[in-house]
């Protein structure tokens, strides 16, 4: 059989760093980087006698993520200790959640090849991150020396476990993208993949197409980019298919992904799997979450991307435009804020995605750092609508707005860019142009329409483009008739 004769079955565990200022059980900063072992205290470095105190903001964010992922939020939840020895884990146990996670039974919707599909979310639970090891050699066992940095230890994580609902690599990628988008949108996590603030574990098995039984799965841990997930799954499906084709059985095991070689390697089999000896964390009291708390968090839940896209389309934007705008929450927020002042969604979208985005991209400026505020952009567009400036002048005004941070009105005034709509003023200018170009006047009167365009051009030139084109046409035709 070929790879195409098999169907993959995949579930994903996503570890997302929660966007709190301080760690989950102490008040150390969660800031990325920093000198080794400077973001530590007796609690997160696991000194004898210290005790954890749960950061409420971690719970708030976990509830928020759960709501955004359509989960049930537990009334009663608790922490458990996951016991295993590793030098990046100061207490040699990780405080996590075992049988009573804060969120369970949720779902999210993905779109692959124009088809919607719902992916189940089994659970989401809170836990602490471990530290970082640096070895003098390749691995901890082959190194003469290893160093450990506990800055990351105790950074709060949300582990989100999906159902084995995905049947293709595009579905897996769509699920991950959708999930990351939701976490970013809700500001639960800043999802900086390059800093490792989101990591993926995939569970994958294959089965002959048409079969309803699950195959034996392998779990590949610690992938940190979509492309790694894609390549890793491609490799793993092929590896498993080859095993099955040869009449062998896939072994249930944990594997790692070697990014350089592009292969997965066995880490430990099911028989060698750790016995984590989970038991309830006696240093923390159970977490009781009343409905009021959940309600309070749900009030802070922003409109999610799917709903926002639908709303943008209902404003008359194309599906494509709605997607471009909502791909970045900041850009969509900018659009929404400008929309309060300027109601023509289509014109606004063109400017936001057009000149505004172009200038920011050229300057490598994030939407959040833009010197042009949504209100300022709305004002600019209103000035076009009123005829104070032309669309063409506006394109240069917005450049000035970016560099100076000034309002459109101020720039127009300072540079004298306002359109000349005053009939008296225009009349004089037109008279002058007509007097200077008698041949064109004659040509026009002789029926040569093209001459009119030339005369308009001359008038615009004389006004440095500021003459109101509509008014010019109207007055010119009057004078020539």
């Amino acid at each position: 059989m070929s790879v195409n004769d098999y169907e993959m079955v995949c579930g994903v565990e996503v570890h997302a760093e929660l966007a709190t200022k301080t760690k989950i059980f102490c008040s150390c900063t969660t800031e990325f980087g920093g000198e080794q072992n400077t973001h530590v205290c007796p609690v997160c470095s696991g000194l004898p006698g210290v005790l954890p105190v749960l950061n409420r903001e971690v719970v708030n964010l976990a509830i928020k993520a759960g709501l955004a992922l359509n989960c049930e939020i537990a009334d009663y939840s608790k922490f458990d200790r996951k016991n295993y020895y590793y030098p990046d884990l100061p207490k040699n146990y990780q405080t996590s959640q075992f049988d009573l996670p804060i969120c369970k039974a949720g779902w999210l919707e993905i779109m692959v090849d124009e088809e919607k599909k719902r992916i189940g979310i089994t659970r989401a639970h809170m836990e602490e991150d471990a530290g970082k090891l640096v070895h003098s050699g390749e691995t901890i066992t082959s190194s003469m020396e290893s160093f450990v940095d506990y800055n990351r230890t105790g950074v709060p994580l949300l582990e989100i476990v999906s159902e084995p609902d995905m049947r293709s690599i595009p579905e897996v990628i769509a699920y991950l993208e959708q999930l990351v988008e939701i976490l970013e949108y809700t500001e639960v996590s800043d999802c900086k993949l390059e800093q490792g603030s989101v990591r993926f574990d995939v569970n994958v098995s294959i089965r002959p197409k048409g079969s309803s039984e699950f195959g034996i799965r392998s779990e590949i841990k610690n992938l940190n980019s979509y492309s790694s997930v894609r390549r890793c799954l491609e490799y793993e499906i092929e590896r498993q298919a080859k095993i099955l084709d040869e009449g062998e059985r896939v072994i249930q095991e944990t594997r790692t992904w070697d990014e350089g070689k592009g292969i997965t390697l066995s880490l430990r089999s099911k028989e060698e799997a750790h016995d984590y000896r989970y038991f309830p964390e006696p240093d923390l009291v159970p977490l009781v979450i009343d409905r009021e708390w959940v309600e309070r968090i749900s009030q802070t839940l922003p409109e999610l991307p799917v709903a926002r896209r639908a709303r943008f389309q209902s404003l008359g934007l194309s599906e494509y435009d709605a997607k471009v705008l909502t791909d970045s929450k900041d850009l969509a927020d900018f659009f929404d804020q400008a929309l309060i002042e300027y109601k023509d969604a289509k014109v606004l979208a063109n400017w936001v995605m057009g000149d505004f985005s172009r200038i920011l991209n050229a300057q490598q400026c994030a939407v959040g750092d833009s010197p042009i505020t949504p209100l300022q952009l709305a004002e600019l567009l209103k000035l076009i609508e009123k005829g104070t400036i032309s669309g063409k002048i506006a394109k240069s005004v917005i450049e000035d707005m970016y560099t100076t941070g000034k309002d459109a009105g101020t720039i127009i005034k300072e540079k004298g860019l306002a359109q000349i709509s005053d009939e008296g003023a225009l009349s004089g200018i037109i008279d002058g142009v007509l007097a200077a170009n008698p041949q064109s006047v004659e040509d026009y009167r002789a029926g040569k329409e093209r001459a009119l365009g030339f005369l308009v051009g001359q008038i615009m030139k004389a006004t440095k483009g500021q003459a109101n084109p509509g008014k010019v046409n109207q007055l010119l035709k009057g004078k020539l008739s």
Partner: protein
Amino acid sequence: MDITARSAAELHTMLESKAISATELVREFIDRINKVEGNVKAFVTLTEESALEQAAKQDEKIARGEKIGPLAGIPMAFKDNMCLTGIRTTCSSKMLENFIPPYDATVVERLLDAGAISLGKLNMDEFAMGSSTENSAFFPTHNPWDLSCVTGGSSGGSVASVAADEVAYSLGSDTGGSIRQPAAFCGVVGMKPTYGAVSRYGLIAFASSLDQIGPVTKTVRDNALVLNAIAGHDTKDSTSVPFEKPDYTEFLVNDIKGLKIGIPWEYFGEGIDQGVARVIQEAIETLKGLGAEVTECSMPHTEYAMPTYYLIAPAECSSNLARFDGVRYGHRSQNNEDIISMFRKTRAEGFGSEVKRRIMLGTYALSSGYYDAYYLKAQKVRTLIKQDFDNALEKFDVLLSPTAPTPAFKLGEKLTDPLSMYMSDICTSPLNLAGLPGISVPAGFVNGLPVGLQLMGKAFSEGMLYRVAYTFEQNTDFHKVKPELTAEVVL
């Protein structure tokens, strides 16, 4: 009476009236330590110099005419599992022989803020695991009443130092009886408060859901005074309870008329020494004579407390002690092949046999396939034991029992028989499982060795326990009898 034999309350009066200065007082206690410590061996670390510095500060305050608190300027000491900045904290283990914590336990902070003068750190069973203080990696502590006997444990140094007048009072910790049982063996007053009444922050954990810090004192009044200083909610300990802390000394009234005292007969069963039973019977008669209504009652799950305790406590300890791996602090074995051998050798060298035994027990009880049969079952039985207490304490103000089944036994007597050693917590561990308060007060003697009376109460009813204990104390003379401490070291 020697100054060092006086209660903290008496010493306070002397300091306040300037009959003695804090510095003089510290010197008195240092002299006393120099005289008896060679026989008693209560201290792991002595900090005389810093004690004198602290005393000088209190003297300045007194000289300035400032009002001093009831514990200010009075020498005391901490069990060596409570962290004190800059002072080594060993848990009487090789593992932490040179560990110097960079922070204070909450109880330490509170007592130092109250002006307490710390004379040092007190010996204990390694990581608080044991009932005789013979499991200290350094040396056993000797019972001041008979130097050939154990002090009980695990807070052996805490009780011996108080009984031998080396300090005015001390703090101990109680996981299954570790304050009360040794307090009974050494004839002092020991309180295990309600779980959550005193912060555990900075107490090096043995079993987190059972550990509780409490005062060891010469009198009931002193005990209430010390509890006043250390109890109360602490945001650094999530299991500490935000409760309205009373002034415990207000309960010290010499009156128990009409109070209902329950005697659970299960506490008087097999293994209870005849002499102990007789002393407790006399104490019951005394309390009856003072107007208490004493009735027998039953707590049917008591017999399961020991096995339950010896599953839950080791399970928690197997995880709590996992951090001692040689990576960050404490003992690290040398010349290791790799990280795994470093972990193994470090722990093999650093821990004593009782600690290893409990880590193995606990690891086994939590292992997959055994969890339901052991740990989970134990938790269910724990609930039943708690229900026993709830039911009994609905009918009674306090429950009464012997603190320990026997008086102090000989050093070495039970060292090779862990099960018989474990039995010495038979009367005290049920209370830890239930999270309730209990106090041991001196109630008499058997062959010259003290016997303790245990009073147990509802959650946060320490005041009621003090009232009964105080009334008993005021109407008996056992607390006034002092060990002679003339014998030479026997071992």
